[in-house]
């Protein structure tokens, strides 16, 4: 059985070789670990935000570092797989990470974030927009760099009513993901307040992201006595394009309100001359952000990666490092509890992409300034900005 013996021997050799990774934390530097996807489908979401985070890290290092130490980056690939995610998390922790950055999506980032929580370290979701990405789904040391999906729905509803004088609303929900449901949850919370002021929800319907046709839903919209002023469309790619196309092809010209998930111009050629279409974004990728600093960031991003940002989901990566570094400076240590307590003191902390607030109950944004992007004749551009009049309360966020 020589072959068997040699197989087992080589298996051990391999296991040993892998175990022999040197741990590389020294006192002169602070390690930030990225347990994100650099292969698999999540890479498309993680990579851009990670690049943005690197830009902020480079800026901090160029300005002398954090607490006088350089920030060093280590990373491990989750391969867009949950079990690998847990390993990736442990791997960056073993390499001395003080901050563990995990995947954009709650489901795929959670295993690594749980590993960090277990080790008593601060973890940040790159751009997860579910309320679970934080205290509720991981633990007291976990945060998300983005804004809750519910805020997007609430923002669009209030803005359309107050700014665009929309009176009648129609709610169309794609039940595929938590994110979609989150947008509509925010809309549902805002709607009664607007109805008290004269708005009206004239109907609601659901579909599934991979439905080839939403003809039935469209028929129901068409059979309303009057075309609604605005349709709140809680959906995401890839089904969003087909839904939008079908709504417009049916001759419905209502405003279409969306979540940030449809930001980006890459799909617009599929619906030629799309108009009356609105998206909330944290920063504009279309070169017209009112803040010149954002435009400067876009230029740096292009210089570094060779492309323009593809959607607003690039930006949370930058704000994430920004707020964490500020908290570390204020706490004068990278110790997790001290940093968390500094983060929780942040109230409307200014960042490049709007103010950020964290509290003891919520490590996520339940109120945020959004720029509103209007797509007119197939050209998106910023037409205003909106901050919801009051934060979305916990009981609208957490399922009863």
């Amino acid at each position: 059985m020589a072959y068997l013996r040699s197989f087992i021997a080589s298996a051990f050799a391999l296991v040993f070789a892998i175990g022999a990774h040197p741990a590389t934390a020294d006192d002169g530097e602070i390690v930030v670990g990225f347990a994100t996807a650099s292969s698999g489908f999540m890479e498309a979401y993680d990579k851009p935000a990670e690049d943005a985070a690197m830009i902020r890290i480079d800026e901090i290092n160029a300005a002398g570092g954090l607490l006088g130490k350089k920030i060093k980056v280590v990373s491990a690939d989750t391969k867009s797989d949950r079990a690998e995610g847990a390993k990736a998390g442990l791997s960056v922790i073993d390499q001395g990470a003080k901050l563990v950055v995990v995947s954009c999506d709650y489901d795929f980032g959670a295993p690594a974030a749980l590993a960090a929580e277990d080790a008593g370290l601060v973890s940040f979701f790159l751009c997860a927009e579910s309320v679970k990405a934080g205290i509720q789904g991981v633990g007291p040391h976990s945060f998300s760099a983005s804004v809750l999906a519910a805020v997007q729905g609430a923002t669009m509803a209030e803005w359309a009513f107050k700014d665009k004088k929309a009176k009648t609303f129609y709610r169309l929900l794609d039940t595929w993901t938590e994110y979609n449901k989150g947008i509509c949850d925010g809309f549902d919370w805002m709607m009664p307040k607007l109805e008290a002021q004269g708005a009206k929800l004239v109907g609601q319907d659901t579909f599934k992201n991979d439905d080839a046709s939403i003809a039935a839903q469209i028929t129901r919209i068409k059979s309303l006595p009057q075309e609604p002023d605005a349709i709140m469309l809680c959906t995401m790619m890839p089904g969003a394009v087909s839904a939008i196309k079908q709504i417009r092809a049916a001759g419905i010209n209502s405003m279409i309100l969306n979540g940030s998930g449809v930001d980006g111009s890459y799909w617009l050629s599929a619906v030629p001359d799309l108009s009356n279409f609105y998206t909330p974004v944290q920063g504009s990728i279309y070169g017209d952000d009112p803040n010149p600093e954002v435009q400067k960031f876009n230029a740096t991003y292009k210089k570094k990666t060779g492309t323009d940002p593809s959607s607003q989901y690039v930006y949370p990566g930058y704000s994430m490092i920004d707020v964490w570094a500020k908290a570390v400076e204020r706490a004068k240590t990278t110790d997790a509890d001290a940093v968390v307590s500094e983060l929780e003191k942040m109230n409307a902390e200014p960042t490049l992409f709007g103010p950020r607030t964290f509290t003891k109950e919520l490590h996520h944004q339940n109120q945020a300034r959004y720029l509103i992007v209007e797509t007119k004749n197939g050209k998106p551009s910023v037409v205003g900005n909106w901050t919801i009049s009051e934060p979305v309360p916990m009981d609208a966020l957490v399922k009863k």
């Binding site: 080589s10 292969s39 491990a76 079990a83 442990l90 489901d107 789904g137």
Partner: protein, 360 residues
């Protein structure tokens, strides 16, 4: 280390005289002992390195050992390919989640659970036992129907079971959280519980294989007509194996839930089904040693490829394979192994100490 054709009776000992008690057990006990030693040695080496990612990787290997040994109990002994066992893993994992998540979190995330379950919080090892029993019970009920089929019809029917369980668990919002992750499962990072689970699975598989039911089932696998003529109730023996293997894969599911701390229905679907089946096939479908060694070797291979993907520093340069090559290389290596050894690496032999190689 040598091999023998494990539990087949040698000609000269045929029925004439009843063999002494535990004769077969004594003759074959070395196999599970050696396999368990292999597991324990790997665990000891891992603990010695002190590396947490390696620890997690090895925990993953042991979970898969449990799953693949579970598969072997049915597939190896009955000769029927089952695509449905990962469904029982799913049942086990969710049962573990239901039993171990703190009641407060359960009330908000899974409000549809019965009240007694909502208020239960068990330690992980108790929950693992109940999860295994629950999966075994489900296997018993489903198997009662399925085991009347044979050949390809049975395989397709097991696949339907997988799809069915997946669909139910992906949509039963109040009880399984539908497609959202179920969180709050206590994470067990120590390696020893996984070692125990794998060793228990190995001994269960061995005990079943040498039991009356196991022997009858293997006879039915090799010569169905002759076995039936000798009084073997084939559907019944298959059902026994199906139930036991359902329970063991359920145990694997519970351990998996505790190793990651998150369960979602899509974890327990085609991906896991095919990786566990290929580990079994590469190792040797009708051998317990094959099941265990297949997992260990393929897992080591996957780890090595991942390591090369991440980059290997040689002097001042880092050599790295393109991302995603791991899956391709793994496929190619499996094809090569199967081309040269169609019955798998170990074939239908078992590893033992003594050189008592007998022919069929």
């Amino acid at each position: 280390m040598t091999t023998v054709t494990a539990p087949t009776l040698p000609d000269e000992l045929a029925p004439r005289k009843k063999p002494p008690r535990f004769w077969l057990a004594r003759k074959t006990i070395m196999t599970p002992i050696l396999l368990s030693l292999l597991i324990v040695v790997i665990a000891c080496l891992t603990v010695m390195t002190g590396s947490r990612p390696l620890n997690q990787a090895v925990i993953d290997v042991f979970v898969r050992v449990t799953l693949v040994v579970g598969l072997y109990i049915f597939i190896g002994n009955s000769g029927l390919l089952s695509f449905g066992h990962i469904g029982f893993t799913c049942l086990g994992a969710y049962a573990a989640a239901w039993l171990t998540i703190s009641p407060m979190m359960k009330k908000s995330a899974l409000p549809g659970l019965p009240a007694w379950l909502l208020d239960t919080k068990l330690p992980y090892w108790e929950s693992a036992v109940f999860a295994a029993l629950f999966a075994g019970l489900a296997a018993l009920i489903l198997g009662k129907v399925l085991m009347r089929l044979s050949g390809i019809a049975a395989s397709i029917a097991t696949f339907a079971v997988l799809a069915m369980i997946n669909t139910v668990y992906s949509n039963w919002e109040n009880v399984t959280g539908a497609t959202s992750s179920v969180v709050g499962i206590p994470i067990v990072r120590a390696i020893w519980p996984y070692v125990i689970a794998a060793v228990v699975a190995i001994f269960i598989a061995w005990a079943h294989a040498i039991s009356r039911a196991g022997l009858a089932l293997r006879a039915a696998r090799d010569e169905p007509t002759a076995a039936a003529a000798s009084g073997v109730d084939i559907p019944r023996e298959r059902l026994v194996a199906f139930t036991i293997s359902g329970a063991v894969t359920g145990l694997g599911g519970a351990m998996m839930a505790h190793s990651i701390g998150v369960v979602t229905p899509d974890t327990f679907y085609l991906g896991l089904t095919f990786i566990t089946l290929s580990m079994l096939v590469v190792g040797g479908m009708s051998s317990l040693s094959g099941a265990v060694i297949g997992v260990v070797l393929l897992s080591a291979l996957i780890q090595a490829l991942r390591w090369f993907e991440a980059g290997v520093p040689i002097g001042s340069i880092t050599l790295a394979l393109p991302k995603g090559l791991q899956e391709i290389a793994l496929g190619v290596i499996m094809i090569v192994i199967l081309a040269f050894r169609p019955a798998g690496l170990i074939g239908n032999r078992e590893i033992t100490f003594f050189n008592r190689n007998r022919h069929k």
